[in-house]
Symmetry: C2
Subunit: 161 residues, 2 copies
DNA sequence: TTTGTGATGTTATCTCATAACACTCCGCCT
DNA sequence: AGGCGGAGTGTTATGAGATAACATCACAAA
């Protein structure tokens, strides 16, 4: 993450064990749904989980090979597209980055609180059913997907300079 | 706009007279604020107003010269950045496009209902004070700007195939 | 007129994302 | 076993979106 300030007070990226566990859970669920958790998909999800914050696609591409070899862009973009479709990852449009889903659900709408200072990002339940949904109803629109992202400062960065 | 279907039931782009009027109003307001409505800014705003729907940056670049000559990218991106800063235009992150503000206000948060079928886009008052604001408060985030975009089908496209 | 600031012109480059096509893997039918 | 057929990958190339850097210009204040 490009830091506007010096703080690095994330919850801390999950440890290897936690990543492993989340990965297993995702694989189990996908298999049950008749989908395949292939090597590329698993690797990209592992990178997202390990990062614990939004990651740029080309950073994933650079880190893809365990040996330091980068991947070809389509390899990663295909995996991202799949993970997003399955609700295991989300694209943050306002910063063109990707993040592992932290709400565990299947395909679902999500909203994000993004700290422009330290990069910390929180996924919160999407308020589609609320204000936006009412506005859409009033206008006669049938909503199919949403992009809801709020930028600002996280609690820690509000205090520090 | 890339049409998934054949419908073209926008409110219709505003006529030349309306564009001229909106342009004048914007110029007057900017002058009063000590800002300059330069040729490039005026031209880009005119193109956005005339389109009446989101336009890609490189379409603006292509249409920039009245004589058909394209502009250089920085010319248009600088104008867009200015217009956005002044609340006269908005960037729609989910489709990487730009649209003239239809709520007349100064710098302000906005939300959009976007029809994936015909491209019609409505700007609605941003629900920052609502659900999202509450989520941010609960998490301790101080919001500075938002990206709120809902994709789906407009009333007309819900009926037609 | 001088001088400083904001705006623009111009070139080059960077980042983000996808098209297209050949090939492989794997389950399934015969 | 043999032969589909569809999903997934590898690879090359290119399209689309955005900005860095620096020279120059316009304009109003001093
Ligand atoms: Zn999620
Ligand atoms: Zn922070
Ligand atoms: Zn607006
Ligand atoms: Zn429509």
């Amino acid at each position: 993450m490009a830091d506007a300030c010096q703080h690095h007070h994330h919850d801390g990226p999950p440890g290897a064990a936690e990543v492993e566990r989340a990965l297993d859970a995702a694989g189990t669920r996908l298999t049950a749904e008749g989908e395949r958790m292939t090597a590329a998909r698993s690797r990209v999800l592992a990178l997202l989980l390990a990062a614990g914050e939004p990651v740029k696609a080309y950073d994933l591409i650079a880190r893809f090979g365990e040996d330091g070899q980068p991947a070809k862009p389509p390899t990663v973009y295909r995996a991202l597209e799949f993970l997003e479709r399955k609700g295991l990852a989300h694209r943050i449009a306002s910063i063109s980055a990707y993040v592992a889903c932290t709400s565990g659900g299947r395909d679902h709408a999500a909203a994000f609180l993004i700290c422009d200072c330290c990069g910390t990002t929180r996924e919160v339940s999407s308020p589609v059913a609320g204000d936006l949904g009412r506005a859409a109803d009033a206008a006669g629109y049938a909503i199919e997907r949403t992009t809801i992202e709020a930028h600002g400062r996280c609690p820690a960065c509000r205090i520090a300079v």
